[in-house]
């Protein structure tokens, strides 16, 4: 297990290097550069040229990449060109907790509702509950998130906040960067409630795809397990249906579900661009979108690297979880 983890960790720098290269080169190869974003469209030509030279935008792409990597190796993700040279790491430090909060909330909804639908569907296979659950799951996968977001705003916009992470009147002391935690640490229940209300609609919109996938995977994994001999034995011993499903079947069906949740968590961290945009959520998705629009090379690179890192770590955690869920899993050993 330790050797396996070490191998995975050693592989991490290779993944990050590949990501940095894949992100950096195509973006800089596109015509144009961030000079206009820095000095504006009205700036005289000599100023534009000077900025282009000073920032190195006129140098060959591979040279620019080399300089970028040397900064990365010093732990410097670079700086924003337009925003008064603010450090990219500081910007990501503010945005990432907000996206993690949104992702965790969406995953919580997906897990609870997806498991419930999947279980109902498996237990009542071929009956109307099954069809209804799977229709909901199909809709969850098919409905575009931005459209669902707009529908939610139309439906609940009169009672829930339409956009943002918190009402702007409120002052929150940022201790952790996570609004739910910070408002609790301040002892302000009203601010916490405000943060939760802001979180509800985007989390619901973001949860639909993982919810649907969880429901479908849970159904198929449970159906396979429910046909096993040991389940028949449990029934014969008089175990209640609820106990059979929740205690005996679900644990053995958990492996694919956990794999899926891990993958989905990683995807949602980076893939919440649409949801964050619809709800003006201040997180990594809107950050990447703004950075792309403003040709902020280093912000785009930094954000993608951090998300790639998070994705790899989440997958590693999922691998470790396997061993706890299923004691038969032994990485690197012969019996595995």
């Amino acid at each position: 297990m330790t050797a396996y983890l070490l191998r995975r960790l050693l592989f991490l720098p290779v993944v990050l290097w590949a990501v940095s290269f894949i992100v950096f080169v195509p973006i800089r190869a596109v015509p144009g550069d961030p000079t206009t974003a820095i000095v504006g469209e009205k700036a005289p030509a000599e100023l534009r040229e000077r900025v282009r030279r000073e920032r190195g935008f006129d140098r060959p792409i591979l040279v620019q990449y080399g300089l970028y990597v040397s900064k990365l190796l010093r732990g410097d993700l670079g700086e924003s060109y337009k925003r008064s040279n603010e450090k990219v790491s500081a910007q990501i430090g503010r945005k990432l907790p907000h996206t993690i909060e949104l992702t965790v909330a969406a995953m919580a909804i997906a897990l609870v509702a997806g498991l419930a639908l999947g279980i109902l569907s498996a237990v009542y296979k071929g009956r109307w509950v099954d069809y209804l659950s799977m229709t909901v799951a199909l809709a969850g996968v098919s409905v575009p998130v931005f459209w669902l977001g707009l529908l939610l705003i139309l439906a609940f916009g009169s009672v829930l906040p339409i956009s943002g992470n918190l009402s702007p009147e409120h002052d929150v002391v940022a201790r952790t960067g996570f609004l739910l935690i910070d408002t609790l640490l301040m002892g302000r229940a009203d601010l916490f409630a405000d943060a939760v209300l802001h979180l509800l609609m985007p989390a619901l919109a973001l949860s639909t795809i993982p919810l649907a996938m969880t429901a479908r995977i849970t159904r198929s994994a449970l159906l396979e397990v429910l046909g096993s001999d040991y389940i028949r034995t449990a029934r014969a011993k008089g175990a209640s249906p609820a106990r059979i499903v929740l205690r005996h079947a679900l644990r053995n069906a958990a492996l694919p579900i956990v794999t899926l949740m891990g993958l989905e968590f990683g995807y949602l961290l980076g893939g919440a661009v649409l949801t964050e945009t619809v709800f003006d959520w201040d997180g990594m998705g809107t950050y990447i979108l703004t950075s792309v629009r403003e040709t902020e090379y280093e912000s785009i690179g930094g954000a993608v690297l951090v998300l790639a890192f998070t994705f790899v770590v989440v997958n590693l955690v999922v691998d470790i979880l396997y061993a706890f869920i299923d004691p038969r899993v032994r990485y690197g050993s012969q019996e595995a």
């Binding site: 924003s80 916009g157 009402s167 009147e169 302000r188 950050y287």
Partner: protein
């Protein structure tokens, strides 16, 4: 679950209604994006300028909601007889938000900071508007409250330029103390001071209780970015924000019918235009350009692409500026005449090209509609138009390559003077920046340059009229429309827009 949501809603509503403690009643102002800097010297775009104009003061401003000059931190000014020296008597008993007294040394420091390339406190980001002030040779204090600007040549626009955001006066003490952090810790003498800036989330401005002038009616203003105009308008209707300054033309009409909101419009100093690359055939042929000009019905364009919220343009300079300076006959729309002129043009092919931006700008919120309109209109005189759209960076690159065909572009004036249209858009000096037609006419250049250094208003008007006449003869660009400024307001709020300046301090609650 229902109970829990109910409890959360109650708590949330309590917090929204301001019963949660000492939070002040704040005006929430929604706009399209957060500021990127709050250092006047670094500013290059409107969103930054909005906040700056409430935190800092300039020497000169505009009277009421007009574009006439009025004193601000300067009480009065005089030009020397040769027009090369401009002396300001400064207002006394003014202090910066950090307690530093405002004096002549602060004015000198502000200008030297962005004019001197090696100034120790020069901002890290290049000063995009620095070149606007290159006519200034020297700024010197003459006593504690008198400042003398020595100019390289007389300037008819220097006073207007001194209203620009870059010329807002900064606290030298704060700049020295904050160093590179000054863009996030701005200190001026303005009616509001920065209370908090949560980047990308909100800027909180608190009333400057020691302000030298009339104090703002509203104690606290919170400026929030709401990227989507549609979302911003929904928030306005719901009361989550009080002002939306970026409503789209397509959506604003709904504001009038909503019981909680109202719409206000104001003249803006913008123009959208169709330009020609004068170095490429057939666009280089004056008959071709005149034919295109005659084929464009701007009234229909206004209805189709601007929802009737623009003024059809006959002149590059909006009508609000210097009426009579540039005598303008109404634009002509005459398809028969256009066809006659086009018949005189040697065309290799009936297919011509028009490039356009794919991103929205205040002067052209829906560029594809404008491009489609031009395509449709030119078809009526027998031209087939090939449209190609580009995003911001690629559009910029296209000009650099200097091989583009017809193009769509526009301009937002920085100062209310025709020179601010003629020089950057049409003068030979600007061929590497905004003069994308590469118009370089000696007669036009000479008239514009002379007008820049002419202080006598009547002589200046005559020079600008001469330049304009030449522009109309050559037609390097065809003005399309001047779009109006729009603002969505809660019915709880009064606010008078200014054609150029953003004045959060002009807002008040309806009593």
């Amino acid at each position: 679950m229902t109970r829990a949501l109910g409890a959360l809603l109650m708590l949330g509503l309590l917090s929204c209604s301001g019963e949660s403690g000492a939070e002040k009643r704040a005006l929430i102002w929604a706009r399209s994006a957060d500021s990127s800097t709050l250092d006047p010297a670094e500013i290059e775009w409107g969103e930054d300028a909005k906040v700056i104009q409430s935190i800092f003061d300039s020497l000169v401003t505009y009277k009421g909601d007009t574009v006439e000059l009025a004193p601000k931190l300067a009480e009065r000014w005089t030009f020397s007889p040769d027009g090369k020296t401009l002396t300001f008597d400064l207002r006394k008993c003014v202090v910066f938000h950090d307690g530093t007294p405002f004096d002549a040394a602060a004015v000198v420091f502000t200008f030297e900071r962005f004019l001197q390339p090696n100034h120790p406190h020069r901002p890290k980001t290049p000063c995009p508007y620095g070149s606007t002030f290159t006519d200034i040779e020297k700024v010197a204090a003459d006593g504690s409250h008198k400042v003398v600007f020595t100019l390289k040549q007389p300037s008819g626009v220097i006073l207007f330029n001194l209203t620009l955001f870059a010329a807002h006066i900064v606290s030298p003490t704060a700049v020295k103390a904050a160093g590179e952090k000054f863009p996030v810790l701005p200190v001026g003498t303005g009616p509001y001071k920065l209370a908090k800036w949560d980047r990308d989330v909100r800027i909180v401005l608190d009333r400057n209780e020691s302000y030298w002038g009339p104090k703002p009616a509203i104690e606290r203003v919170i400026v929030v970015p709401v990227k989507s105009p549609q979302t911003a308008l929904e928030k306005l209707k719901k009361g989550e924000v009080h002002v939306v300054d970026h409503p789209t033309l397509a959506d604003v009409k709904a504001l009038g019918s909503d019981p909680n909101t109202k719409l206000d419009t104001e003249t803006s100093l913008t123009v959208s235009y169709l330009g020609f690359n004068l170095n490429r055939a057939p666009y280089s042929d004056p008959n071709f350009r005149a034919a295109v000009g005659l084929a464009l019905d701007r009234r229909t364009l206004n209805e189709l692409a601007y929802h009737g919220l623009a003024e059809p343009a006959a002149n590059l300079v909006p009508p609000a500026l210097w009426k009579g300076a540039c005598p303008t006959p109404p634009y002509e729309y005459d398809l028969d005449k256009a066809k006659e002129l086009l018949a005189k043009v040697k065309l290799d092919s009936r297919e011509v090209e028009l490039i356009h931006m794919t991103f929205s700008r205040p002067y052209m919120p829906e560029p594809l509609r404008v491009a489609e309109f031009v395509k449709d209109q030119l078809q009526k005189i027998g031209l087939t138009v090939k449209l190609t759209g580009y995003d911001k960076a690629a559009y910029d690159q296209k000009y650099k390559e200097k091989n583009h065909p017809m193009y769509l572009l526009g301009w937002i004036a920085d100062i209310p003077d025709p020179d601010n249209f003629f020089y950057p858009l049409l003068h030979g000096d600007s061929k590497d920046s905004m003069n994308a037609s590469f118009f370089d006419d000696p007669e036009f250049n000479d008239a514009v340059k002379k007008a820049q250094s002419e202080l006598d208003l009547e002589r200046r008007k005559a020079l600008l009229a001469k330049a304009y006449g030449r522009y109309r003869e050559v037609l390097p660009t065809i003005p399309l429309v001047h779009v109006k400024q729009l603002i969505g307001l809660s019915k709880q709020v009064n606010y008078d827009m200014h054609p150029i300046e953003y004045r959060f301090y002009a807002a008040s609650w309806v009593k």
